[in-house]
Amino acid sequence: MTEPRHEPTPTSAPPQASAPPQASATQQAPEARQVSQLPTGSLPLPSSGSAEGAPLAALSIRGLAKRFGEKIAVDGVSLEVPAGSFYGMVGPNGAGKTTTLSMATGLLRPDFGTALVHGVDVWARPLDAKKLMGVLPDGVRLFDRLTGEQLVTYSGLLRGMDRDVVGSRVSELLAALDLQADAGTLVVDYSAGMTKKIALASALIHAPRLLVLDEPFESVDPVSASNIRGILESYVASGGTVIVSSHVMDLVQRMCSHVAVVAGGRVLAAGSVDEVRNGSTLEERFVQLVGGGHRTEGLEWLRTF
């Protein structure tokens, strides 16, 4: 089932329609090319950057902090997401994952700290940085009175892409995400999983070098989830970088090369998955780090019926 689905992904499609991400930054949008040249002069391609030498982090989060009124949501988070990595961010509810990712993607202004995307400061040069990123925010609405096809097209045109390129990519993306049959349906009439998928398509349309996905698998059915995984894995294999937040430890352990455990607005552990889990499963390690897994006693009445 999963095998043929890898083909129509944006990463391995006909070169004219959608180039692999590492090339696309220098090929499709003139603005994007400027960006990748400006910061360091000789920016290495992500694939060569992640292989060896001094890799430039795809996303570098430095001391981000945010408080909402009395509550400190994020308390000095620093993370280095190496280019070409599949980075998982796990943490209990309210750990500050969404807030951190919002600040890293330019959606929420941090109180302290900054974030760099391939060396471009998100908060000093937001428009340049955002061209390098594809973002799937969690818990926001979509322009849902558009059809699915229109929404993805809109997302592409907003980024200044050429209409013909957008057109061919949209149909490939919809095919890859199994949304072809509903392409002309209004997004407001989509199910939760379809909505998630169309939002993902909107984030992929400009072949970004970094994908930031907040809870991409929430309410997505298993077939579509493995579909999406296939797309993301081949995207990473060809040099792109993905950072996902998730609750599902098992998924992160199988899918990701790196992981950060976040709780209470701080990073408890970060590194490659094998380093972090240190011999045990990620889930055990997570519970051990976060604490709170002690509530198996009490509730005796629940066993008496």
């Binding site: 202004r109 926001v140 609405r141 849902d144 558009l146 096809e149 809109y154 045109l157 057109g167």
Partner: protein, 523 residues
């Protein structure tokens, strides 16, 4: 159980205020308004105490019957049904249906409409403060009548829950309801005329209605006052049977609703139709304009304002035909220009958190502003031109044409420029996406009013040259000022439009994330 549901409803009401003090201010204003209307109503009912019994009976029965009808119809068309205690939410609690029913019915009285209806109904006790049996009958009738209202509205909303949750029905009904509302003036005049012509007929109508479930309970006080004990007893039975029948219906419907969740699907449609996205230029600004135009057509919150527009001339023409002078028709063009241009003040607020796409995609502020403003212009420019020239065919005062055109175009462009600035900085309390345009918007109503007032003041200041030129022609009578305005209005307007779009774009670039944070509060 009844007490639990009551305290739940009460808690929900109170917690609604806790979100922000401004919410409380807005609510207090609404309450004050409701209190004003209610005290007028109750005052009127008490004043009827000294009226002829026949008249009092007619008014109370017809008013009561209209109220019952209102409770059945309004929640349906306005999709404004109070769903805080949606029965579907109690599915998993296994509450005995009888208790759930009773609890929901009593809880229906908590909230402004329910409470107001109950108090107004009790006002009829004042009307019948004439003899002991009349007071007792009125009291009983008021309670029965108010209960009928609540239960009937529950039956209607439960029965149509499946229908009402379909998006298409909601969209259409929320727009259609605007039409009678806008035409309220002409309709009222028509009714008053009709009533005047058929004053003798009304008591007969009231007597007939009082034998129907709609009016039976409201008639008890009047019948006992005039000594018709037999009629009163029969009507008591009618109203009791009505409530019992409605409760039974509600019971059955509720049981069915609890096990069959509403289905809200449409048929899948293949793609291939990009619509306006294929027609307008494939640039960011062009895409924003295409998206905005699609929303003007498809989102009921926008479409409602478009439905109102053609009703303007109808109202103006009607009031003209009443007063015999059609001079007021001439402000139709400028007024429409103002309304349309002002409407995009709320544009970003209408997006709600969907604005995240613009922010994440790194759309330049100026593209965002320009696209939205041009979309509004594409719709409003032809309308404004027609509404400026059209009335002159009625009034025949063609010497005003250049001046009015100047004023209309100036207002349209200046208004669009100003709206582009305001909506880049301030969030306005509007109904959420998918909600009825009628629904009370969440969020800061007080700030919205302040922003709107200051904005309109600013607009008036910016329009001083155009308005002055209109005044000059009005006083001097010569057409010269008009020709000057025809040049000044569009020129000044376009300049302010460009300045507004640029300034708004700059503000949006600088404060986009803050704007998004404001939007995320009400989602």
């Amino acid at each position: 159980m009844v007490a639990h549901l009551l305290s739940l409803k009460w808690r929900l009401l109170l917690n609604g205020f806790k979100r922000s003090p401004w919410q409380l201010v807005g609510m207090a204003l609404g309450l004050l308004y409701a209190l004003g209307v209610l005290s007028l109503l109750i005052g009127g009912l008490i004043a009827l105490r000294w009226a002829d019994a026949e008249i009092a009976h007619t008014v109370v029965v017809l008013g009561g019957a209209a109220t019952v009808l209102g409770w059945a119809i309004i929640p349906l068309v306005a999709s404004a049904a109070d769903m805080t205690l949606d029965p579907a939410r109690f599915t998993t609690f296994a509450i005995p249906p009888r208790q759930l029913l009773a609890g929901l019915a009593v809880a229906g009285f908590i909230g402004i409409p329910g409470l107001a209806t109950l108090l107004a109904a009790l006002g009829t006790v004042g009307t019948w403060w004439r003899s002991f049996p009349a007071v007792a009958g009125a009291l009983l009738g008021a309670i029965l009548g108010a209960v009928t209202c609540i239960v009937l509205s529950k039956v209607v909303t439960t029965a149509t829950a499946g229908l009402a949750s379909s998006r298409r029905f909601k969209d259409v009904s929320s727009i259609i309801v605007f039409i009678p509302l806008m035409l309220l003036g002409p309709i009222m005049v028509g009714i008053v005329d009709g009533v005047r012509g058929s004053a003798d007929y009304l008591p007969v109508l009231a007597r007939t209605v009082s034998w129907t479930p709609l009016g039976a309970s409201w008639s008890l006080g009047g019948d006992l006052e005039s000594g018709n004990v037999g009629a009163a007893a029969l009507k008591f039975l009618i109203s009791g049977a009505t409530i019992a029948g409605l409760l039974l219906c509600w019971h059955v419907l509720l049981q069915r609703a609890l096990v069959t969740p509403p289905y809200s699907g449409g048929s899948a449609r293949k793609g291939g139709k990009l619509g306006l996205f294929a027609l307008l230029p494939g640039t960011p600004a062009g895409a924003v304009a295409a998206r905005a135009l699609i929303y003007w057509m498809k989102d009921p919150r926008y479409a409602a304002s478009l439905v109102i527009v053609p009703l303007f001339p109808v109202i103006f023409f009607f009031s003209g035909s009443q007063s015999g002078s059609y001079d007021l028709l001439m402000i139709l063009g400028p007024l429409t220009a103002f309304m349309m241009a002002w409407s995009i003040c709320a544009d970003v607020s209408y997006d709600n958190t969907a604005f995240a796409l613009h922010l994440a995609a790194g759309v330049r502020g100026i593209d965002d502003r320009l696209g939205r403003a041009l979309a509004c212009l594409a719709i409003s420019l032809p309308v404004v031109l027609v509404f400026t020239v059209g009335p002159l065919f009625v009034t025949g005062e063609w010497q005003w044409l250049p001046n009015l055109l100047g004023l209309s175009l100036g207002t349209l462009f200046t208004g669009l420029g100003l709206s582009s600035v305001i909506s880049a900085r301030y969030n306005i309390a509007v109904p959420l996406p998918g909600d009825s345009p009628f629904k009370k918007p969440p969020g800061n109503v007080a700030q919205t009013l302040a922003v709107q007032a200051v904005g309109m003041g600013l607009l008036a200041l910016l329009l001083v040259p155009e308005l002055a030129l209109v005044a000059v022609q009005a006083f001097s009578g010569g057409p010269e000022a008009g020709w000057i305005n025809l040049a000044v209005g569009p020129l000044l307007g376009v300049i302010l439009f460009v300045v507004g779009v640029r300034l708004g774009g700059k503000w949006l670039d600088a404060r986009g994330p803050e704007m998004f944070a404001q939007l995320s509060v009400n989602r």
